[in-house]
């Protein structure tokens, strides 16, 4: 899944607010990851079917397919993909639902750049340790 030539993790970022993609992309690149960003969830879903990503970071509330649909689709296509949900409308209910559907983490906006990078590094660490979270996930009913 990771870039075979560079052995770097591949991340897809989806947020309909361009400023979020604009800022996350160079930050992840600097941290040593391959990054693709999308502001349109339809295009992101197409891309998720074309290629596999190690990590998907998706907004929740968007025009068209929302974050929950992206989360489900990403895991269906690639069960090993870790999905991090970011949202400005964080409630206990949405967090619960995200985890129930298999999200790795749930991050409320605004968030610190360092926090999201730390979250990605945590995923990277688990992947390197060979932990397979899919067995632990509660699959959607």
């Amino acid at each position: 899944m990771s870039d075979t030539t560079t052995n770097r993790l591949r991340i897809l970022v989806l947020d309909d607010e361009p400023i979020v993609c604009k800022r996350l992309k160079p930050a992840f690149q600097k941290a040593g990851y391959e990054v693709e960003t999308f502001t349109d969830s339809g295009q992101a879903l197409v891309r998720l079917h074309e290629t596999r990503f190690d990590i998907v970071i998706t907004d929740l509330k968007m025009e068209g397919a929302d974050g929950m649909q992206v989360l489900s689709s990403a895991l269906e296509t690639s069960p090993h993909t870790r999905v991090v949900v970011i949202t400005g409308f964080a409630t206990l209910e949405t967090a619960k639902e995200s985890f129930r559907k298999g999200a790795f983490d749930f991050v409320a906006k605004p968030f610190k750049l360092g926090d999201i990078i730390e979250c990605v590094k945590r995923i990277e660490g688990e992947m390197r340790d060979g932990q397979d979270r899919t067995a632990l996930r509660i699959r959607p009913v």
């Binding site: 560079t6 770097r8 947020d15 607010e17 400023i19 979020v20 604009k22 800022r23 996350l24 992309k25 160079p26 930050a27 690149q29 600097k30 040593g32 391959e34 400005g88 906006k109 605004p110 968030f111 610190k112 750049l113 999201i116």
Partner: protein, 829 residues
Amino acid sequence: MKRSRIFRRRSKTVEMSVWRLQALFYNFKAILELNNTALARMAEMEQALGGEYIFDRPYLEDSVRRISSLVHHAVYCLNALTRNSYVSLYDRYQDILVVLDAILAGGSSGRDAELVMPLEDIGWELEPMVGIEAVCLSELGRHAGVRVARGAVLTAAGVDGLLGRALAGEVVGATREMVETALAGVLGGMRAEQGAMHIVGVRAGENFAEAIEDIPRDLFSVEVNIGQLGNWGGGADGAVAAARELAVRIEREARTCAGSLAVLMLIIPPAAVSGMARSRAPEAPELLAVEARQTGADKGDAFLMRRTHPFDLIRSKISPRPGGSRFADGRRATDPLSRSLGRGSALITPPALKSLAETAMALERMLGTPVEAHWQEAAGEACIICRVQPRPMHLEAPSGRQLADEMAGATVLVRGGQLVQSGVVAGMAMHVREDTPLESFPLGAVAVAKTASPRLTPILRMASAVITENGTAAGHLATVARELRLPAIFGMPEAMRLIPDGQGVTVDAGAGTVYDGFLEFLLRHGAAGGDLNPTDPEYRMLRRLLRFIMPLHLVDPDAPGFTGQGCRTMHDILHFCHDRAVDELAHFQERRPGLGTIRSRRLHAGVPLDVRVLDVGGGIDASAGDQARVDEVRSAPLVSFLRGLNRSSAWSDGASALALGDIIANLPRTMGMLEDGGVMQGASLAIVGADYLNLSLRMGYHFSVVDSYLGPDQSRNYVYFRFAGGLAAGKSRERRARFIAHVLEHMDFLVTREGDLVVGRLKLAEDECLRVALEVLGSLTAYCRQMDTLMRDDSDIGSIFDDFSEKFMRSFVPMKESAESVGTAKAVR
């Protein structure tokens, strides 16, 4: 039967009093909590501006909604606390909220109606009305060592008024007469200026650089002689006629332009040499370019320099000049500048080149995109920046591999601290202190300091980054760094030791890391635009919103403008509510005579004082009985005060020994010395909470109030002290008041004194300072209880102060040494 009825009536009075008192304190506590919550949210917005958070537009809308709701609640609580004494504060709140809503809707500010504005009055919040160039010139003018052209701007509203167009959403816009009157006012102020007036049409509205290709251009440009406008001659009269002619000229040009525009009116003095500085050379974007040309000459000089301090010259191209010709500085090329160096034939000197380079880099930081600055040389003085324009260009980011390799080989000097303003810069590190002379700091160096003192503000205006060992992202200096978009990390441990003076370093503020040497790929990556910067609409909206949320204008409670009407920001309203609430609490006994007798318990203070205590929550240990001991006191401010009050030397020395019998005899006695309607006849009253104290203290013939809050949020903590009265004649009482004022001033209280009344306030100091101040006030209360009878002439004030200082203020020494926080307190009180 009759006795029983009386008893019941008295019981009812007591219940009512306690209920009202609890309501009083509930509202006070609510104001403190609302303050804390709102200020935390405001601080988060400020930190978002510095790049700390990833946020989007809905976050801005949500923040405004939440902060305004908290502020509205604070206004409500203040009115509940003061029996509706500040109803007009709702109107100010509403006015500010309307402005914030307008900004969220894409408007600029409450100053939309201004037609003509001097350059120096312009801030970021006005960009949609005046264009980005006016903002840049104005902001640049606030930098140390930078001179900009003087002038004014005819705003978008002014242009619309001139052209007879109504602003969007307005039924009636400005009239032509109004615009001419405003222009006449500006021309009147300019009549002493030398030089031609350049009138330039610039694009107003949002998004000065939406795309790389969208390079702003002048919509029109004409030059007029001020003195010849309307045959004015520049005298005191005739400015109106001159304004009419100027309006005609502007109208003629503006009619040819579509869309929203503003008009710059710049006075540009005549100069022999002029040119431009580009923060990125078009032919070599990794370098900075400066061009210089003699007026009327076809060819000039061209210089390419490094973009990092000390801006080394990489290449220069000097045009040949006739032998023996003199330059603008009066010298010939062969004239010596020093023992080994001649003047040379370059049009501009190396120091001026470096100054222009730093100016170009400061502008690039400010705008977040490469810039072009036009300059003119003023003989013997710094170059004057006349025009500033963004020049966006596509910058190739380094590949992941290049960056990874460079980072792998980089040496980290220090890591950690709090991000204040993100950005990647490189330069020579220079250790600075509060007293470092400004002229010794090299333009564009990286300032490294022990403490983020506000006194470093002038240095920040010359630095390319700032790193401190102490200080937080919420302090005054942090706000300045964000205003300047100066990469900054505060609270970086051992920065002074780990970053050697004079070392070349690369600062990655976002990552909280300082590297040894210049990391070219990291710098290129930083310049590729990943950070939040002014080309992002969210950045500019946040910056404009913060102008009406964060600044604190009401700093002096005794100033005439310290009123509800004087509030210009949400922070002003919060501060006003807080200050008035403290004032109400400090005076509640005399202002609320109807509160009646209060049920309370006696405090065995360990000194000859009859003190009653009313606990409003957590102030006294829950296991304490009707008679509380000192060791059962849990109220943090009262604990500190009692520690000072109980010092035996405060009771046994000097004046007190002489008149102790009288004092004891006078305790307790009525509090009617100063105020009518006292409630606790014969006793002092302490209203306490876990972090609150309101102590009304009667000592013989004087009366003092200590009001203090020492909660978890340091920024809201304070000590208020009021003292008045006395047994001696007026002059002697006044001497004691002067002595007390002197003690308070020594502890950095903000002090006012009128006759024998002394009022002192201490805020925004570190908790330890406030605790020690309370302890000193405890000792002071005992020490000076009848000092007035001993003070026979003014010379006694000094000697008694020395005695008191020696005995009780030694513990205050550490606080004076940490002048940083005290200085801050003074600056913003």
